[in-house]
Symmetry: C2
Subunit: 196 residues, 2 copies
């Protein structure tokens, strides 16, 4: 019984190994290859620990970390949807809901329910934890894009107004981070990393 | 002042980007390339959330996660030291202490102290949290190695007794995980993934 439970848990853990093969549009600063979701999730989680004083409300940091560690698991089935791809974003929610229905339920039922609820909460962005987690999920690619001279922005011809519209909810979860991000976006335009 | 603090935090966060370029001996199950420390740290952290009921004592899960998220940061300077490389392991501690002295102190002083203390605690393996975290740090490569048909073990001619000696402290942090790991090691020998 206990062994069956452990094996079920490990089967899910091995399934999530696939997140190391789901690539994003963001390029790494080192070798300029696309970042994968596992690396992204680790970086966000570390940011959550170090930047928690900037959250707009008191947050349960453990809950934030659980959310961030699983927030992209659905992309194992649904793939990464580029933030500025309007067509792909039309059915993103449907694809991700289907993925969540399959993936989280590989876990023992009690854990599946908890993880699914955390993912739903993250997606809804209504609790302080979800807002703070979502703010980091937007800030991290902005940082890499800026310090990588806007390579992903330039490749896709992204404009400043798109970046502002896409990321402004950083301000809901962490106002100081949004102030910082807006300055970075302005500087990106000045430096020619991002179209005006 | 507040902006300076945020900039100091972000400078550390950007420095840790380099962990995505520190490669381990473990191969990924997908494309069989070496795993990097960022992916490894994410996977461990997710495992910590899902397997906490198997810890040998009550643990503060938030503390475990903080430890796991930063446990390999020193390898940015010190590099990854292969578990079974006896020569490289001779000066591993010295190299990693020096790296910790540089890296954590990039953070604001209060956070540097906290993170450095967490890393020291992880290395000492004397608290329940450190023992559980260390157990996962050993179990995760075992899992990938076993499910990858022992590629890293075979490449380096590793023997069962080395794997047992190297990993037996999993039992201190999570006895059920060590029972499971020992069965996996026996099976690895039977399947020819690991030398007897």
């Amino acid at each position: 019984m206990a062994v069956d439970r452990l094996e079920t848990q490990l089967a899910f853990i091995l399934e999530t190994e696939k997140l190391k093969q789901v690539f994003r549009q963001t390029l790494l600063l080192g070798d300029r290859r696309p970042e994968n979701d596992a690396e992204h999730s680790w970086h966000l989680s570390l940011m959550a620990v170090l930047l928690v004083e900037h959250a707009s409300a008191e947050v349960d940091l453990l809950k934030v970390l659980k959310m961030l560690l699983i927030h992209d698991v659905v992309e194992i089935d649904a793939g990464d949807t580029f933030a500025y791809d309007e067509v792909a974003n039309l059915d993103k929610e449907e694809r991700e809901q289907k993925a969540a229905d399959r993936l989280f339920w590989l876990l023992p039922t009690d854990q599946a329910g908890v993880m699914r609820a955390l993912w739903d909460e993250f997606e809804l962005r209504q609790s302080p934890e979800a807002r703070y987690a979502a703010a980091l999920d937007r800030l991290q690619p902005l940082l890499l894009n800026f310090h990588g001279e806007g390579a992903a922005w330039r490749k896709h011809g992204i404009k400043k107004e798109q970046v502002l519209a896409r990321n402004e909810h950083i301000g809901e979860g962490a106002p100081a981070l949004w102030t910082y991000a807006r300055q970075m976006i302005d500087e990106a335009v000045e430096l020619g990393y991002l179209a005006a």
